[in-house]
Amino acid sequence: MASATTQQHLLLSPAELAYLHSSLSLTPPVRPDGRTATQFRPLTAETGVLPAANGSARVCFADGTEAVVGVKAEVEKRKVLPLSKGHEQIRESDGDDAVAGENDWVEITVEIPGYRDDDSSTVFLATMLSEALLADGEFTKKLWINRRFHWKLYIDQIILISPPLSYPLPLLSLTTHLALLSTRLPRLKSEADEDPMFDDDWDASRFIYPRQSSDTTSATVGSRPPVTLLVMAVGDNIIFDPSKEELAVADSALAVSVGERNAPVDEASETMDVDGEPQAGRQLRLLSVRTIDPPSRLTAPGVPNAVNAAAWGQGGPVAKDPGARAAEIDDVEGVWKAPRGGTKVAILGAMVQKVLEKGGIAEEVLDGLDAVDLG
């Protein structure tokens, strides 16, 4: 799925890889940096770093990879629908929900220095991020101005360290999350379907994701942008926030996008919030799951074509010596072999479950992000 260019081969020997793999398969797993399976690396984050953007954030992972995300909003005229059909559509949408958004109101670009603009890896990252963001259709509703105009949101992401030191999806997702939380749109002064006029006063602007404290009556209380987390499995162990070395021996890796349910928070949890237990109030929901091709799935350098399934037919003559072939295919203790075949459904299920469960990882991450000062 994810292109290989974002995750280049690590120069680890088969023995090192095998050691990593077996230590990660222990119960509990032993990780190279001593973390527990669900522990995240520390990160630093700040928001509102760019003066010219509606919202921005900068996040630095512990491994040094850093990303800057800027959100810019522009007013755009809605595409005119064909009249006969358009009337029906508007009336139709008037019926249940007048406010509806379209997916092309959001544009996400990812830029990594040293990569071409149309590099498949950056396009793929951008698509995965927008997929999570647009999954529930709630986000684009926020961009609705009136029937003739809407906001167009450009989310530009730059990765500062090239090549990224670990798979950049979680980093970009967290940065986007914070940038969107800090995004403000000017207050609308005009009414109904007039040409939009906006309040010049930036202090009067509204957050695209309103704070809980400021606006408790709104239906969107508690709504948050999605976060995408990288989860990997080695054997039956499920490991969060894998480093580059760990990914190199992953049996499978998933990008799990989680959003918060967009429902009014009931009284009980409201009071619990005050008590300092916001976990209880979180209603998480799964937005998307994507499998990521970890580098462990790529053919390691030095594998002869004769035993490489990807080079079937174009390799040299099949190895005549059966022993040599066996050495390439059979498992030998202490020598790394790329995993073959798919992942068990049960493990995939467990990975998603671990993210979503109460007091699970997603809640922990969202709580952590809550702590970031949104200036």
């Binding site: 630095c60 040094g64 810019k72 670009t109 220095p113 990569y115 730059i158 500062l160 090239s162």
Partner: protein, 281 residues
Amino acid sequence: MPLDTSTYNLALLRIDGRRWNELRQLRGQIRTQAAADGSSYLEMGNTKIMCVVTGPSEEGKRRNQGASSASAAGSGSSTSASATNAADILVSVVVGGFSTVDRKKRARSDKRIQELQATLAKSLAAVLHTHLFPRSTISLSLHILSQDGSLLACMINAATLALVDAGVPMTDYLVACSAGSTSSHSAADERADPLIDLNNQEEQELPFLTVGTLGASDKVVVLVCESRVQVSRLEGMMVAAADGCVNIRAYLDSVVREKGHRMVAEGAVEKGASMAMDIDV
């Protein structure tokens, strides 16, 4: 400010309240990225640039081949050094779509960006002691986070800071400053005054140039002018810009020294004694 304003006696203040020879607020940091060999962040007013240096490293151009990068030594006709006995300098400029008031995405194959990259690579090649790193590559990536005039100048200054952080030996700081002239090209107004460190609005209205000098000297490494201006104005603008460069150099130097002091204080520098002496000078 070491400059004497009294002889010009200007009551006129600029749009942002500065006098003609006043720089905007400078804010610089070095070693902003722990994972890079050298990094810096520089703000000149609202122009904000982040620079990351990788190298000098051996890995060569392989990785950057697809991207547009400018190589100074060897293939460039302007440097005498050939590829085999001096380091290559690769520069890639990333313009954030959010850096301007109206979002405008610039492709990296844009000629203007390629020209900026070539300019940076060639001017740094003249200042860095690349001959100390044969067969290696120094790659810089500059991220433009916000632009408000004096873009080239700010990029040069940020690159210099990052290269200091990376520990690449150089003859002196390469510093740059922009300067403009208060009258438009058509008016034959001889009393036109130079302005330094222009912001975006001034760049739109006035003719301007960017001067990059070697440290506080009068030696010009970069001189770029893209607007119409009377040849008689050139001298005044260049002198003003060179004065701006002197101030910028002093500021960049203070950033580096302050960071050095802090590193010594924190014990980040191992062989402390001799280092500390150097910095105390």
